[in-house]
Amino acid sequence: MTRMMEKLSPQTLRILALLAVLLVILLFFSLVIPNYLNGRLFNRISSSVAIMALIATAQTLVIITRNIDLSIGSILGFVAFATGSLVTNNPDLGPVPLVLYSITIGACFGAINGVLVAFVRVPSIIVTLGTMALFRSVLVEYSDAKSITTSNLPQWLVEFPNTVLFSIGQMQFRAAFVAAVIVVLIVHLALTRLNAARKLYAIGSNPEAAEMAGINIHKTVFVAFVLSGALAGLGGFMFLARFGTITVVAGLGFELKSVAASVVGGVNIFGGSGTVIGALIGAILVDVIETSLVRWQLVSEFWREAVLGALILLSVAADAVLMRRFISLRRKRPKSDPIPEKTSVLDGEAR
């Protein structure tokens, strides 16, 4: 065990800790809810995580740079609506232009946030709190208080999210979920392998030092917001495909859920560390708790939010404790003397 711990990076340990917590939660609910663990549960969670995973990934990119994007739900809602009305008016448009359209609009909204945060230098919590309301109001205005309905959408779009690509037993791997996981993996690879991605972490870790190292903080933060917006836009497309009905409330509350998923997934809210794989597991964890609570007879409708909050806190705490335990296991290795031999010291300072 100890030897294994040594080999693993802290990030990997964090993910293991999260998986352990997830397992405990699944076991717990399987004890209190009859007929709980089955393929259907997997299908439920995977379908609903498909959207949240994208949003949590978007949020993670921004949080890593020591910022936050509270407008993410409004961006998603707007994009879902705009893409919906585009395809309603042009039913012949194929998947590629629609997805590009979604991503572009999302990126534009992200750019607005990015400019205000990175160049006008208004703290991101204030900027995005403002744009959260602003983007939603633009949606209300743009939508003319109408809604998009499934019946106006092309058949391929409505069917896409639930197309079963392959199944393992009762567990169906559907297109939306698989697509979301692929996107998360791509972002993960980019964050761990790309030279430029290091800048995001550096800025969140120590902005002053990043500036001194010649990193263009403003540009990098701007890019982070644009990417976050683009991913939120993609989330908007998935939202449209999955729910079909888009009213002006689409994506309401996603901003806080995405922050919850990221933080549960081990992304440091003060920036500098975290992985999108963690955020994905965080999203799964939050969704499992939420879905299961609804089925848990013991908890009434009115207490559900409170219990959800408490369980999220509990899993964050459990994860932190596990993490510390893992790290102390790592520390126990006999360490080599960190101080080199100093035979020539008397030639040095002591004149």
């Binding site: 439920r44 109408k146 009213t247 689409a250 509350g253």
Partner: protein
Amino acid sequence: MGSLKSLSLGAMLMLTCASFAQADAIKLEGGKETNLVLLPKFLGILVFDQANEGAQEAHKELANPGELLFVGPTPENSVAGQIEIMTTSATQGQGAVMLSNNAGDQIVPAAEAAKAAGTKIVTWDSPIPSGNGEDVFVAQVDFGSIGTVMADMAHSILGGKGEMAVLSATPDAANQNAWIASMQEALKGAKYADIKLVDVVYGDDQAEVSYNRALSLVDQHPNLGLIMSPTTVGIQASAKAMQDEGLCDKVKVSGLGLPSEMVSYTMNGCAPEFALWDFRDLGYLTYFTAYGMATGQLKGEIGESFHAGRMGDYTIEADPGREGAKRILMGPFTVYNKGNVEAAAK
């Protein structure tokens, strides 16, 4: 819509306003100037937009030189937003505010202040529960009869026997709560003895929340045969969820829905029957009422009758559900099925 088969129930027939029409209905005189505000629960729901269309139609018909404003709060800010708009309308000296109340009795102080300032308060769709601060409520349908209609649809879909669950809007939506209560009352009848109401959950009138709640209902109640959703957002999300998961054979969906949104689910059997009144008519009638009161042509007293354009004559009466409050009952509503839904969706 006129060509549709309208289904009036016994209980409703007794209450239908026309049958109570007294002496002479007041013919409202057009062309008088008054500024009116149409205030929905929040913006972005199709039915409210339809109500606005009806109100605009009446506005033109009555040739009111004043303004008709359609303003509402954003969804996340519904309660506070409604109170604010109510207060602003009073200070602006608007002739009347037409309110679909989503703020419960929290709206009362603002509404009373508006009334004191001379602004008439006409509620529609969803009233002020206590009736305080309200001049009159334009009821789309008798709340007691909605319960019976829903119970009957459940009876017909379930074949008289089975488990059903309710997926409502928010836990404090006055109209939905009243309808659910009246349905529970109706279900006590011997005819419905084998229908069991197993759960009531809330989807917050958000598509994604309603969708997920519908699925968890299925998970939680293995023998569930029907989801009854008395909200247009909830019924559609439930139907889509059942269709997406291939559950339509087992679990049906019913409730209150818009034909244009529900047509595909009715045709493929996911939602064989649902009901709704016409929100355009509701907006039209509400406008006539508000116009009449704001211009002083209507006193708002019980027994007063007036002529509401193409819809005919209506009478102000005591509201049986709310002591001391007054209502105008629009009625009737339409039950949609495979036979009539396609025509209505056009």
